[in-house]
């Protein structure tokens, strides 16, 4: 097991990662560019309200950005997603998203694929927060599906 992976087994480190992504979210703030797809996600059971933008071109996720008002879990999980999926091919991105959803649903998954996002491995134990941990990911899942329909 590599050093990075052993760090990702340490709950204290995972907690720090979530806090860090919440306080200093990555790829935060939207751009005005009509080449970007955009999905507005407003959870109906809580007040998370975020917008995710993506630039998918030639089968590649070139950029992902997000903004909005949301809880720690929503913000940090979306922030980590932007790190994970940027620069990946659409197929790779879809595989990561599917793995993430498998983890959230407490199914079998490969933690190496998810890197830092394994921080959300216990969310399934708090059913009312599953929506928070998936809100940004669902937006991206939707945009990939739409890009494939267009393509």
């Amino acid at each position: 097991m590599s050093n990075v992976n052993s760090l990702l087994n340490d709950p204290a480190i995972l907690r720090e990662l979530i806090m860090d992504h919440y306080q200093y979210p990555h790829h935060h703030g939207l751009v005005e560019d009509e080449n970007y797809a955009s999905v507005h996600m407003a959870s109906d059971s809580c007040i998370d309200d975020i917008t995710v933008q993506s630039l998918i071109r030639d089968g590649k996720v070139e950029d992902i950005r997000f903004d909005g008002v949301a809880c720690t879990i929503s913000t940090a999980s979306t922030s980590m997603m932007t790190d994970l999926l940027r620069g990946k091919s659409v197929e790779e991105a879809q595989a990561i998203i599917d793995t993430y959803f498998a983890m959230i649903e407490a199914k079998e998954y490969d933690p190496d694929v998810l890197e830092e996002a394994v921080a959300f491995q216990n969310v399934y134990k708090q059913a009312n927060r599953i929506k928070c941990a998936t809100i940004g990911w669902k937006a991206m899942d939707q945009m990939i599906a739409e890009s494939e329909n267009k393509g």
Partner: protein
């Protein structure tokens, strides 16, 4: 003053969850054994429909149903014939709105407030759209309180309906309903009052308030879910059309489509009602009156003051309604999203509500669109407040995220 330890014994939810601190009473309340028994007995001892059987058990249920209406009437100082049973206060409001539709015409105004729950806004919004009415807002202060002067300034000849809560569901502001109603009546307007957060906690007398229509839910006042009440001034109820047409509410009908309805309140209660729920609601009303609404009110006020004093000493907590003497306490842990803080409290076995509490335009008034609402009831204790404050001290980002590990 009331004997809280004895009262707590009446509630199986408390006995079965001795470590739970339930401060989400604004959402719903626990049920005492006597209410549970009243509901259960209907299932196990005297099941039947009402108003249509010729046998002894059916007659017993007719009697229990009518007694429930009397108990609820007594609870709010009304006459039994002025009490309509619905399925929740939302149904009560929708019935009120539907019933008033023929009393308004295009260009008329409905006066509401920004502190209202969705259920006391959206039905009016739809009526306004359908009948081309105007919606206007009663001015509020920073803690969402209405003032008599503010109301007077908003009132004018065009206002035909005023809709407001007696106690608002987020901040617990007690609105000057009697004074408002007097002013509204001097302009000939009809007043609907939402009593969902009032009836469980204080002595309400609809005649003293003078309101024309008044609604509340049973489940927030120790009664079962699925029962709402609509009080209406009798002559007004007689003028109103029912939302639902069907069995039991008609006197006779003919092939040529003419229908003769029964008198109010029965004309509003189409179909088989929630019989056991209504019987349980009657029992809940009796239970509250046995303890005494004034006693409940005084105890809750003292408990709230105690809780507020302790909670306001915490540096990490910001309180939005410190000057209210009544109702829920709304706060946030500084720098934390409300749901994260509520999640941490849940990990300490504390139940509160986080979010915007269905009052989605209130943030215009109080400057935040999400809070934690801690709402007390007469079975809560100072010891619970102490434990709550201890837990609230520990609400930090680190601890809030820590619940996931």
């Amino acid at each position: 003053m009331i004997d809280v330890s004895r009262i707590r014994n009446d509630f199986p939810m408390i006995r079965n969850n001795p470590d739970l601190i339930y401060f989400d009473n604004g959402a719903t309340s626990f049920k005492p054994q006597c209410v549970i028994d009243a509901v259960m007995d209907f299932y196990t001892v005297h099941t039947s429909n009402v108003h249509r059987g010729d046998y002894a058990i059916a007659a017993q249920n007719d009697r229990l149903y009518d007694e429930a209406r009397k108990s609820v009437a007594k609870l709010i100082g009304a006459e039994a014939k002025e009490i309509v049973f619905t399925h929740n206060i939302t149904a009560s409001i929708n019935q009120a709105v539907y019933g008033l539709r023929n009393l308004v015409k295009a260009g008329d105004t409905i006066l509401v407030s920004e502190a209202e729950h969705a259920s006391n806004l959206l039905p009016w919004f739809r009526l306004a759209k359908e009948k081309d009415l105007k919606i206007e807002y009663i001015p509020l202060d920073a803690e969402a309180n209405m003032t008599v002067e503010g109301f007077r300034s908003a009132m004018h000849e065009g206002v035909k309906i005023v809709a407001a809560a007696q106690v608002t569901n987020v901040l617990g502001s007690v609105q000057p309903v009697r004074e408002i109603t007097e002013i509204a009546h001097s302009y000939g307007a009809v007043v609907f009052c939402d009593g969902a957060q009032a009836v469980p906690h204080m002595k309400v007398d609809v005649k003293e308030l003078g309101v024309d229509l008044y609604g509340f839910s049973a489940h927030k006042m120790c009664g079962p879910s699925g029962v709402g009440v609509l009080y209406g001034r009798y002559d007004l109820l007689q003028q109103m059309d029912p939302v639902f047409m069907g069995g039991d509410m008609n006197a006779r009908f003919h092939k040529d489509t003419t229908v003769l309805l029964k008198e109010a309140p029965v004309k509003f209660e189409a179909g088989t009602p929630n019989i056991e729920g209504i019987i349980g609601t009657g029992r809940a009303a009796e239970y509250l009156m046995e303890i005494g609404l004034d006693n409940i009110h005084a105890y809750e006020k003292e408990l709230r003051a105690y809780f507020m004093e302790k909670l306001s000493q915490l540096d990490n907590i910001e309180i939005y309604n410190p000057d209210n003497v009544y109702g829920p306490i709304d706060f946030n842990a500084k720098g934390l999203f409300a749901q994260d803080a509520a999640g941490y409290l849940a990990s300490r076995n504390i139940a509160v509500r986080s979010g915007n509490h269905c009052a989605k335009i209130l943030h215009n008034v109080i400057g935040t669109d999400q809070t934690i609402r801690a709402s007390l009831y007469f079975y809560n204790t100072k010891e619970e407040c102490d434990r709550f404050v201890e837990a609230a001290k520990d609400i930090t980002l680190e601890n809030a995220v820590g619940i996931f590990f």
